[in-house]
Every structure is written in structure tokens, then in C-alpha cells.
């Protein structure tokens, strides 16, 4: 029963590129919807980027409703949420200034003291810090895209770099759009997830590009579309295998890794699926824009 891979054909012959128009339309729609969503609905920014106070408590003999009642008499903008199980409750508050936060945490703690078994965590991010963190996150993602572009450019021809960055931008926007729809909290960990997705997606793309480059040298007479198809097929089982093992690990992290890490795991799962899709259906077809064959270039 072992060695299932013997059943999978060594050289599958699926016409991926033939479907490119459908997928291109699908992706363009997805990106447009994502952009619209991001500008209208936006992301569910966590306190890292919005500022505010967050307190996680484990409770006894109480309900979320009772706690809400106690707190909402003193705070108008308090929101409570069960976190993993009904005894763990997350309390979020918007603060106006830094000074307020110290008093806020203290007075919230005093108000609910006798309902609480343990104050599991308290976080406060001031308004200056949250905007700095957002800026730095944005910077990190942009620099990563540029650095990856430069690396691909150095290792391959520039057309490959272009294809890779188109695919990457696609992945980032598509993922952000889905995060907006699913209302997943956007935090510092999400930025880390997005960067890792960029790394993962490019990894996938590079493996296929590597094969395209090799085949360009090997099959000088083959039509480009067929050559790209062949390259995708050559690397197909690897693409699927690696995505599956990565997803297995991520699903395990999503289910067992605890509540705090769950949004990160979910973002990564979405990103790995999109990244794998884009390597095959976006990055490779983009290369068709350029009518290149190394020997065709005059310079």
C-alpha cells in the first residue's frame, strides 16, 4: 500500500495553459473584489494597528452577558468576546490617550475582580505606536516584494521577475480580500503570515520557473505554450506534495495551536492555497506576454 506516488503518472499531461483565460478572468475579478472590499469594508484591525486595550480573563460562575453589563455601565465602547471556550473572555476597549490606558486596565480589573480566576493577558497599544507598527508592516511587505524581485531578476531573466511579482501581488491582495470577507483579525502576526506567504508562493513559482528555464534550453523548437505546459506538468507532483504537507502542518496548527495563533494559521492556509494556485495559473501565463526565448534576444 505504500508508495502511492507510483499511481501518479510521472509525466501528467494536463493542459493548464489552455485554461489560462478562465483563470485570468477569475483572478482579475477576485482582485477587483478584494480592492473594493479593502477600500469599503477594510480589514478587521486588531489593537496592534488600531490602538486600544485588550484584556483576556478566565472567569468563574459568570457569563459574558453579566460581565458586559458590569463593564458597559462604565465604558461605552467596550466589546467582549468568548475566546476558545466560554470561560475565557476577551475584553477590548478603545482608549483616547496613553495616560487613560493605565487607569483603564486598573479600573476594569477592579470592576470584575471577583468574577475572574486569572488575568491571562493585558495589552495596550498607544495611538503613536499603532500607526508606527502599521507603517513598518507596510514597509516590510513592500521591501520583501522588491528584494524578491531583485533576486529573481539576478537569477533569471527580468521577465521571470515580472511574472513572479505579478503573482505575489495577486497573492497578497487576494489574501487580504479574503481576510476582509472572513473578518479575520489583522495583527502583527498577520503581517508575518503575509510575508511568509510571499516567501512560500515565490518558492513555488521559482521551482516552476527553474523548470521553464531548463526546458527553454532543452527544447528549442517547442511552442512556448506547450513548453510552459510541459514545465508545469513536470513539477506538478512536487507542487501538490509540498502544498499538502505544508497544509497538513498548518491545519494542525489551526486546530491544536491555541486561540492566539489561530488567525495566523488561517491566514497562512488561505495564502498557501492562493500561492500554489497563482504559481501555476498566474505566474506562468504571465510569461506568455513576453515572446522570449533566450536565443531570440539580440543582446
Amino acid at each position: 500500500m505504500f508508495g502511492l506516488n507510483k499511481i501518479i503518472p510521472v509525466e501528467p499531461n494536463i493542459n493548464f495553459l489552455g485554461l489560462r483565460r478562465n483563470f485570468l478572468i477569475f483572478s482579475i475579478l477576485a482582485i477587483l473584489i478584494s480592492i473594493v472590499l479593502l477600500s469599503i469594508k477594510g480589514l478587521n484591525l486588531g489593537i496592534d494597528f488600531k490602538g486600544g486595550t485588550l484584556i483576556e480573563v478566565s472567569t468563574k460562575n459568570t457569563s459574558i452577558g453579566e460581565l458586559r453589563e458590569i463593564l458597559s455601565s462604565s465604558y461605552s465602547d467596550v466589546s467582549l468576546q468568548e475566546f476558545g471556550n466560554e470561560n475565557i473572555i476577551l475584553i477590548r476597549l478603545q482608549n483616547k490617550s496613553n495616560q487613560e490606558s493605565i487607569e483603564t486596565v486598573n479600573s476594569v480589573k477592579n470592576l470584575i475582580q471577583d468574577k475572574v480566576v486569572e488575568f491571562r493577558r493585558s495589552e495596550f497599544v498607544g495611538p503613536t505606536i499603532s500607526s508606527e507598527l502599521l507603517f513598518r508592516g507596510f514597509q516590510a511587505v513592500s521591501f520583501a516584494l522588491i528584494a524578491i524581485l531583485i533576486y529573481i531578476w539576478l537569477r533569471f531573466e527580468w521577465q521571470f521577475g515580472f511574472g513572479a511579482v505579478v503573482a505575489l501581488t495577486h497573492d497578497v491582495l487576494f489574501t487580504l480580500g479574503l481576510l476582509s470577507i472572513l473578518n479575520v483579525e489583522f495583527s502583527l502576526a498577520t503581517i508575518a503570515a503575509i510575508l511568509t506567504i510571499a516567501g512560500y508562493s515565490i518558492n513555488d513559482t521559482v521551482v516552476i520557473f527553474d523548470r521553464v528555464r531548463e526546458n527553454l534550453r532543452k527544447y528549442k523548437k517547442l511552442e512556448l505554450v506547450d513548453l510552459f505546459n510541459l514545465s508545469v506538468n513536470n513539477t506538478l507532483s512536487r507542487t501538490i506534495m509540498t502544498s499538502l504537507t505544508t497544509l497538513l502542518a498548518l491545519v494542525s496548527l489551526f486546530i491544536f495551536g491555541g486561540e492566539v495563533i489561530r488567525p495566523f494559521a488561517l491566514t497562512m492556509i488561505i495564502g498557501v492555497i492562493i500561492g500554489t494556485y497563482s504559481s501555476v495559473f498566474i505566474a506562468v501565463p504571465t510569461l506568455l506576454i513576453f515572446k522570449f526565448r533566450p536565443q531570440d534576444e539580440d543582446d
Binding site: 505504500f2 496613553n98 491571562r120 505606536i129 508575518a192 511568509t196 494542525s252 495563533i261
Partner: protein, 516 residues
């Protein structure tokens, strides 16, 4: 073992052994071990062991404003000496503009002022002298304020009994604190939230109209009571002695006064205090802390011993905290908490347990999957995967890296991604096996052809991880560290260990054909 160089086997085996041996300290994890070997364990981040992370900002604006006030006082003094009338003083955000009654002596005033404050920008325009706080001058104020603040914060934290705190400057005007194992962050925040500037002033009881009009004449200030805002005192602006002359302060208990803080002055402070109390018997002496009067007792006799007590409506904790603050000294400017992340030990332990379960289950799933797909070769890749995990752990321990919750996520993710290099190799071997029949040639070509792809693919992941380290903060850096180490270790295990294992297997099984 056909053609497999001995040196290569030796290198692979010894690296693997080292990887396993150096993972031992982190796996045993004896927190207090002093053993030179067991000490090389992973440090747990604040989010895993519990503790507080605080980012404080020094309120430099307060200092700049104070300095402008000093300018005003000095100009008033100088012009009084020179007998020049001041018509108007205009205090702006960054400069003080003084309008004089006549312009004859304005140059002299400027020169004497410059003697006192070298470095400020002074400009004369007709009867107008503008004194500007320029960038260099501000920078001097800023640097000394941060340096002093760091020192005071360190003293206060030490006094609070926190073990192994990390206190460092962060950027231009911030101080970063990491306090492992702190159970009551609110108390620490209270300790840091006070400037603790203590001064003693003589109270002016005669000029009652000033208090009524709420207008302090030159050289006096109006200060409210700590417990009752409506009770005001008119005080001499100049402090007779201040907290910088204290050598000791302790919480104490007195039958009649309740909880109090007893203090002792140094020689200079004791002399000043003795002189003032001798000359002002019958007047009141106000004890001012951070701009409010704690108490203002009547001086009934000269106090020359250089020690005394401060009474107020303190409880035991307040008295002892005030003593801590006085011992540590005053901050040059208030500190504002701009970011706080505190995690209780309970959540930290839960996170570790959840992370371990996720890692183990992820590992089992990936291993089963690899065996299902690749059979024996999959099992060999699994050996590499497990060794890979050991190597990550030992590298983390060896470089003294900090493991955070996102760091654990990075390890779990690496488990999924680390088999990639093996998959690339196996797929190449599969292709090569269609082209020829010589088993060892197939394997050699498979590894050789996969090599450049593996490098390209992993370097791009490393680029993302390095940028994440450069721009990320705290826990997120933990993620980029484990991800980077995981990627590097996976390249080693795939290209060397899997290679070694495949050769060993093929030699011992004496395979004549290879069908992967």
C-alpha cells in the same frame, strides 16, 4: 556503500549527533541549571513564560517647556540687575520673546544671558530679544534626559524585586522594558508612572490676596494639596532642598502619625535643611511631590540632624512605594506608557502545551503522508525531518535565541515546508529513473539536478524571513528566527542527510532497480 566518501559520512553523522546532543538542554529544560552544558537552552519569550513588556516614552516636551520657563526667570533676574523694564514676555512653542522698555542695555542683557546658557540662539531686533531653543540644545536636553531616565528606571525596577529585567533605550526618546515573570504589572506601571520629584518649600502665609486671586507674584508659586484640590498653598518658587540630596528613605510606622516615610539627607542637604529650619521657625514647610503638596507642617524647632519623616494619609504599600521612588530618585521628565503587553504564566503555559501538540500532530501527519506517497524513501525523508527539528532546537539553544509563540508557529510551519527539498529530490529521481537503469547514477543525477532549484526556492523564503526580522518587533522576530533556521536546517538535512540515508539504503538493500 558504493563510492560514498568516508569523510562525507563522517561529516553527516557527526553533524546529526551534534544536532541531537545540543537539543538535549532545551528538551530537559532545567530552568535554574548552572551546568555549563544544560545552560545552553532555549530562552522562552515573555509570551510563553509570562511577564510584561513595556515601552515608555520620555515626555521631552515637558522638559523643553521647563527650560523655556528657566529662560524667563533668568531674563527677569538679569534685567532687574541691569534696571531695565520688561514690557512683555511672549512664550512660544520653541522660543521666548522678551520686549524691553528700552533698547540701550539689550546687548548687555543678551551677553549675560549667553554666559548662563551657552548654545541657545539669541537674536536682537530693536527692543526685542528672542531666545530660541535650537536643535542642538534640544538634543543635549534629550540625551541627558534619556540617560538619566534609564538609570532611574533601572533603580526603580531593581527595587521592585523583578528578576532579570531587560531595560534599554529604544529609538530617540523611548525606553523598552522586558520584565519576565512579573505578576502585578499594574504596580510596576504605578512605580514608573510617577516622576517622584520631591522638593521642600517655605510656605508664604502672609500674602493672602495672591491666593484669593489665584495669581502668584514673581518668585512664588501656587500649589494644590494632594488630597484636596481646593486647598492651595502659596510657596516660595525656590526649593530649599530637594530629593537629589536624599541618601535614604524607608516606609515607617508611627503610633500617632500612622504610615509615613522616613528619610535622611546627605551632608549638603542636612546643612541646607538645618539652616532653613533654624531661620524659619514658626513658618510652614511644604513637602511637594510631583507638583502637589503632600503635607505642610509647621516648623516648631530647628532640625539639624538631617533626617525627618513625611506623613500623609498613606497605607503601608503607598508609604513603601514612595520610599522606593525617593531612594531611586526623580525622573527628569514624566514617562508615558505607549505600549504594554503582559502575559500571565497560565496563558504562557497553555500556549506552550498547545504549540507542542500542534507540532507533534503536524509532524505525525506529514510523516504518515510521506510514507504513504514515497514508501521507504518517505521514511528516510522522515528521519531527516525529525533530525531537522532537533537541529532547529539545538541552534536556537546555542545562539541563545528567544522562543516566542509565533516562533513555535514558525517551527510547525517548517515541519510542513522542510520536506519540500526532499520532495524536489525524489521527484527528480523519479524522472531520472525513466531515463536510465543504473541505480546510483539515477540517485546522483536526482540530487544534482534538484540542487539549484532547492537553493533558489529556499533563498527567496530566507529573504522574506530576514526582512521580517529587520522590520518586525518582539514575538514576530521569534517567528523569523525559527523560520530562517528551519529553512537552513532543511537544506542541510535534505542535501546531506537524506542523500546519505538513500545511499546507505540502496547499498544495504542491494537494489538493482529503482522505481520510486
Amino acid at each position: 556503500m558504493k563510492n560514498y566518501p568516508i569523510w562525507k559520512s563522517f561529516t553527516v553523522v557527526s553533524l546529526v549527533l551534534l544536532g541531537i546532543i545540543f537539543a538535549i538542554p532545551s528538551i530537559i529544560y532545567d530552568e535554574n541549571s548552572e551546568n555549563w552544558f544544560l545552560k545552553n537552552k532555549i530562552n522562552l519569550g515573555l509570551d510563553l513564560q509570562g511577564g510584561s513588556y513595556l515601552l515608555l516614552e520620555v515626555q521631552l516636551d515637558v522638559l523643553y517647556k521647563e527650560e523655556l520657563d528657566n529662560f524667563v526667570d533668568s531674563v527677569r533676574l538679569i534685567s532687574r540687575d541691569q534696571a531695565v523694564k520688561i514690557e512683555k514676555i511672549d512664550i512660544q512653542e520653541n522660543e521666548v520673546v522678551v520686549f524691553f522698555g528700552n533698547k540701550e542695555k539689550i546687548k548687555d542683557i543678551r551677553d549675560s544671558f549667553f554666559q548662563m546658557y551657552r548654545g541657545v540662539t539669541l537674536q536682537i531686533n530693536n527692543n526685542k530679544l528672542s531666545i530660541k531653543l535650537n536643535d542642538e540644545y534640544r538634543k543635549i536636553i534629550q540625551d541627558s534626559a534619556i540617560k538619566q531616565s534609564l538609570e532611574i528606571v533601572r533603580k526603580r525596577i531593581d527595587e521592585s524585586g523583578t528578576k532579570e529585567p531587560l531595560i534599554q533605550r529604544s529609538g530617540k526618546k523611548r525606553i523598552l522594558l522586558q520584565l519576565p515573570g512579573v505578576k502585578d504589572p499594574e504596580r510596576i506601571k504605578d512605580l514608573l508612572g510617577k516622576t517622584a520629584k520631591l522638593t521642600f518649600h517655605i510656605v508664604d502665609n502672609e500674602n493672602t490676596s495672591a491666593l484669593q486671586n489665584n495669581l502668584a507674584p514673581f518668585g512664588k508659586i501656587i500649589v494644590s494639596d494632594m488630597y484636596d484640590e481646593n486647598t492651595k498653598y502659596l510657596l516660595d518658587k525656590r526649593a530649599v532642598v530637594g530629593g537629589e540630596n536624599l541618601v535614604d528613605a524607608k516606609g515607617s510606622f508611627d503610633q500617632t502619625e500612622g504610615h509615613a516615610v522616613s528619610f535622611r539627607f546627605d551632608t549638603e542637604g542636612a546643612q541646607k535643611f538645618g539652616k532653613v529650619t533654624t531661620n524659619n521657625i514658626g513658618k510652614n514647610l511644604a513637602v511637594v511631590l510631583d507638583g502637589v503638596v503632600i503635607t505642610a507642617p509647621r516648623i516648631s524647632s530647628a532640625i539639624t540632624g538631617g533626617s525627618g519623616i513625611i506623613t500623609g494619609n498613606f497605607n503601608a504599600q503607598e508609604a513603601s512605594d514612595l520610599a522606593v521612588l525617593l531612594r531611586a530618585g526623580a525622573l527628569p521628565a514624566p514617562l508615558e506608557i505607549v505600549e504594554e503587553r503582559s502575559v500571565g504564566a497560565g496563558l504562557g503555559a497553555d500556549s506552550i502545551a498547545a504549540g507542542q501538540i500542534a507540532a507533534i500532530i503536524g509532524m505525525v501527519l506529514v510523516c504518515v503522508f510521506m510514507i504513504l506517497i514515497y514508501g521507504t524513501f518517505g521514511a528516510l525523508a522522515n528521519v531527516s525531518l525529525i533530525v531537522n527539528l532537533f537541529i532547529i532546537i539545538s541552534l536556537l539553544g546555542a545562539i541563545g535565541a528567544t522562543l516566542t509563540l509565533p516562533g513555535i508557529a514558525g517551527i510547525v510551519l517548517t515541519i510542513g515546508m522542510a520536506v519540500d527539498a526532499n520532495v524536489l529530490i525524489f521527484e527528480r529521481i523519479k524522472e531520472e529513473s525513466l531515463k536510465q537503469t543504473k541505480v546510483f547514477q539515477i540517485v546522483k543525477n536526482g540530487f544534482d539536478r534538484a540542487m539549484s532549484t532547492i537553493l533558489d526556492a529556499n533563498i527567496t523564503t530566507l529573504i522574506a524571513a530576514v526582512l521580517l526580522f529587520a522590520f518586525g518587533s518582539g514575538p514576530i522576530r521569534g517567528f523569523s528566527i525559527t523560520l530562517s533556521l528551519g529553512v537552513i536546517a532543511s537544506m542541510f538535512t535534505a542535501l546531506m542527510l537524506t542523500n546519505f540515508l538513500v545511499y546507505m539504503y540502496l547499498s544495504f538493500a542491494n537494489k538493482k532497480e529503482l522505481r520510486l
